[in-house]
Structure formats: structure tokens, C-alpha cells
């Protein structure tokens, strides 16, 4: 298994130094080599399990239950201004 660690790191939005990449690459490869034993299992026609139980989704009635808690909710924000979250410029 050959993994482009830098590409996966970019998808994950995690900066990796070359040293970290050099260490992580083989580790990921050994994990995925281990995981590859799944290919031995015959799963022809087997349905996938996404949830452990066969349950249906409960629904919520359409009633407003939340008021304005902006100050409390922004108390742990790294950077806000006039109630807005501030981030480095988003380039479109």
C-alpha cells in the first residue's frame, strides 16, 4: 500500500513537517496492511451496517426552542468582532 501522506494531510487540514510525514507514512501503511485482511472476507451480497440497531429516525416538531445566547456561545471563540467570528480572509 502506497500512501500519499501529504495529500491525506491536506484533506485533513493538518500541517505535517517532512519528518512527521516520514514517520507517519510507514505507520499508516502498516495499519492499512493490517486492515487489508478484510479483503479475505467474502462479503458478496452482504448489506452494510452503518448503525448497530435497526431503528428509525425520531423527528423534532418545528417549534423554536433556542433564544439568543450569543455572548455565552462566543465566550470561547478565538476572535470575534461585533458578534461575528473573525478568520483570515476567505479567498473565493
Amino acid at each position: 500500500m502506497d500512501i500519499d501522506v501529504h495529500k491525506v494531510a491536506m484533506l485533513s487540514r493538518i500541517r505535517l513537517t517532512n519528518d512527521e510525514a516520514a514517520e507517519l507514512g510507514p505507520q499508516l501503511e502498516s495499519i492499512l496492511d493490517y486492515v487489508d485482511q478484510l479483503q479475505q472476507v467474502d462479503t458478496e451480497g452482504v448489506v452494510e451496517t452503518a448503525h448497530p440497531h435497526d431503528a428509525a429516525m425520531p423527528l423534532r416538531v418545528d417549534v423554536v426552542t433556542n433564544g439568543n445566547r450569543r455572548d455565552a456561545l462566543q465566550s470561547s471563540a478565538p476572535n470575534t468582532q461585533s458578534g461575528l467570528y473573525v478568520v483570515p480572509k476567505v479567498i473565493e
Binding site: 416538531v61 445566547r69 456561545l73
Partner: protein, 476 residues
Amino acid sequence: MSWETVIGLEVHVQINSKTKAFCGCSTTFGADPNTQTCPVCLGMPGQLPVLNTEAARKSALTGLAINGQINLESKFDRKNYFYPDLPKGYQITQFPVPIVEFGHLDIPVPDGIKRIGITRIHMEEDAGKSMHEGLDGVSHIDLNRSGVPLMEIVSEPDMRCADEAVAYLKQLHQLVRFLNVSGADMEKGQFRCDANVSVRRFGEPLGTRAELKNLNSFRFIKQAIEYEVARQIELIEDGGEVVQETRLYDSVKGESRSMRSKEEAHDYRYFPEPDLPPLRISQQELDAIRAGMPELPGALRARFETEFGLSSYDADVLTQTRELAVWYESLVAAHPADPKRCANWMANELLGRLKESGLNISSSPVSALRLAGLLDRIADNTISGKIAKDVLDAMMASGDHADAIIESKGLKQVSDSGAIDDMIVKVMADNPQQLEQFRAGKDKLMGFFVGQVMKASKGQANPAMVNQRLNKLLKG
């Protein structure tokens, strides 16, 4: 060399529920930034989504209205990407098993109607809003819109020109408003369109498509598609190749530019949303949704034509929205004698005046009952149609009954033959030359005399009676 255009549309329609898709925050437009947020729609640690019933019901209703197949079990998935206005770093959406599949919409085209396939309707949550303008090196994020429920309605690539695309969008726009599943206000971003556009030489397989993002008016959609078609044809004819990319249309410059970022192609890593079990709708629930379905625009239009004898033009105008149709039907109920008069007065007189004042039918100062009252006075010859227009102006301004205005302004029609005869005699005396010519056989002057008498009566003389008395008196 002749080219064929192929267009498919993805429309994001904001569902008009009171609360967001997965939390109890209000969806009211225009609130102060981030005042309609909670730990769930801010993606805070440990917070979990619970689906809004209205999002599911309204999506299913829309699916029924486009003759789609409603999946009694549908599933939610996570679409992963990083963006500051996407709090969780993933959007909850529906990928392999959406709530609706295989529908269609019939649209008017120059030579009849054309059926446009609708691949699917899936539910998803909206992102927040990023603001950049006037800010130095930073962007501001407002998450009030984060988590607002959307339906994404995806068409088949069945449209062959910009006009068809616009016709489809108008039809869809009308439908979702009729169903009361969305306000569909394009200025508020409640009805947003992305267009997939490609060109090919006739008979060839599909060309590479470009995706045009965020087209927010019917006019820009047409312009953007036409610009894109021309761009692609020119590119290919110059020996170039269309690349699959996302393009942003600039309505000010009238051109589009590529939005493709260099760093990576999107890889959304969709997988089943583990926080939400499958959504199941029972056949009974679906039947109940179907039973609550309003009469759809097409059926309503046809009924207005047959039941009330309206022209197809009037029928179309009066079924543009459900409010208009309902208003018209209450007008007819109050003035049943003449549905066509009702249609004329509503479509031509009332709607024109409302538009001039920046109002719409729901904010009309003249109710259907009051307009019917005015039409009754035309029917019983109390006033002429011409006077009635003045009365309507006064009703718009004051909100009064027609009768009160007619009374206070003394606009009652003169139907007294003695009074009309007096006016005719005076007009004949004042215009001896015309009288002579008329009597010499110039019949066309009849109109002149009618005009003079009406003028003398300040428009209040009963026109039928004026005609009848003139016929008698002019001949001498």
C-alpha cells in the same frame, strides 16, 4: 457547424420552516449576526442533530408534486470539506438514498410543452455566510443561516437552451411557492441555482460541462448560460478543450471566471451520517401528505379557463401564486355574475395599481369583497367602467367602500332621459356645423357627439342611454 447546448440544473430551495433542519434555532431572515445560533448549529463538541419534521414533510410534498418516487426509507450522509462558514467541517446531506427520485416537470416551450426529468430531491443543511467586503485581510462569519433546511432539486440534463432553463426554473419557482414549502425569495437566497452547461455537435456524445454557481435572478441565469455557451463553442472552434470546472458569473461584467482552486480537487469523502438513523415515512403518512396537497398551478390554470371562461393569458396571470388564485376565487364568489369581468379588473386594474405602489395581493388595501362591491355597481349601471377606474383609485388610497366613494363624490351615473336629452340639445346647439354634416350622411360623427355628451356629464351619463337618445334626437 451546428452546436447543441445541454443544460442540467441544481436548485437549492430553502424550506420555509420556523426552525433549522437539526436544531430549534429560528430561521427568521435578517436577525443580528449569530443571534440565531446554538451549540448544535455551531458544531460545538458533543452536539447532535435531530431532524425537523417540516423539512421531511415539505420535501416529500414537493416530491409528490413533481410525480417523483418518495423513498419510504432515505438516508443522511456527511459531505466533508473545510470552510469557515461550515461549522462541523461537514454538511449533513443525502447522497446515495435521497428522499425523492425520478420526478419530472412539464414546461412551456414555443411549440408546446416539454418534459424535464428531475433526477432527485435531497434534504441538506445550509452553510453560514462569509463577508469580505471592506475588511482588510479578514473575513467575518455569520452562522445564523447555518443549518437552515434546504431541498436540493437536481434536474436531468434535458434543457437545450437558456430559455428552456429559465422556463424550468420559473415553473419550479412557482411550484414551491404554491406548495408553501418555500418563500423562494431569490434576493434572500431562498432559491439558488447552479447550472451545468456543456455543448456538443449534434449527434455527438455529451461534452465536458462547466458548473455555473449561484445564479440569483432569472435574467442573470439566461445571461450566464448564454455567455457560457458562447465561450465553450469559441474555445472548441479555436481548437481548445473545455475543462470540468466551477465558474462564477459576474453579472456586472457580464462574464464568468474559473473558481477552481489549485491546491486540490474536491474529495468530499461522503459516508453515512452515524448520528442519524434512516428516515422512514410510512405509507399512511405519505397518503396524509398527499391528501393535503393544494391544487397545482397547471390544474388550476385549466380549471380557470374552463370553469370561468378565462383567456389563457388571464388564467396564467391569476395562477402565478396561490395567493392570487385564492384571491380571484373569493372575488368570483362575491361577484359570481361575471367571472371574466372579475378577471379583467383583478388582472389589469388591481394588479397594475398594486405593482405601481410596490404592493402585492396579500398587502392589497382593497379586499376581494370590496372589489366585488365596485363590480356590482358597474353591473347595475350605477357607474360606468370609466368612472369605476377613478373609484378604484380612491379605494386604493382610502380603503373605503365603492358605494361610499360614489356617494360622497356624486359619481352616480345619470340615467334620467330628460336630463340626458337636455345635454344633447345643448351639444347640438353648440355644434351646428357637425350637426349639419351628420345629417348630410357623415355617420362617423356619432362618436363625436357621444364624446361631447359624456364630457358634458363629466362621464356620469349612462353611455347606453346616451347612444339611444342621440340616435333619436340627431336625426331630427
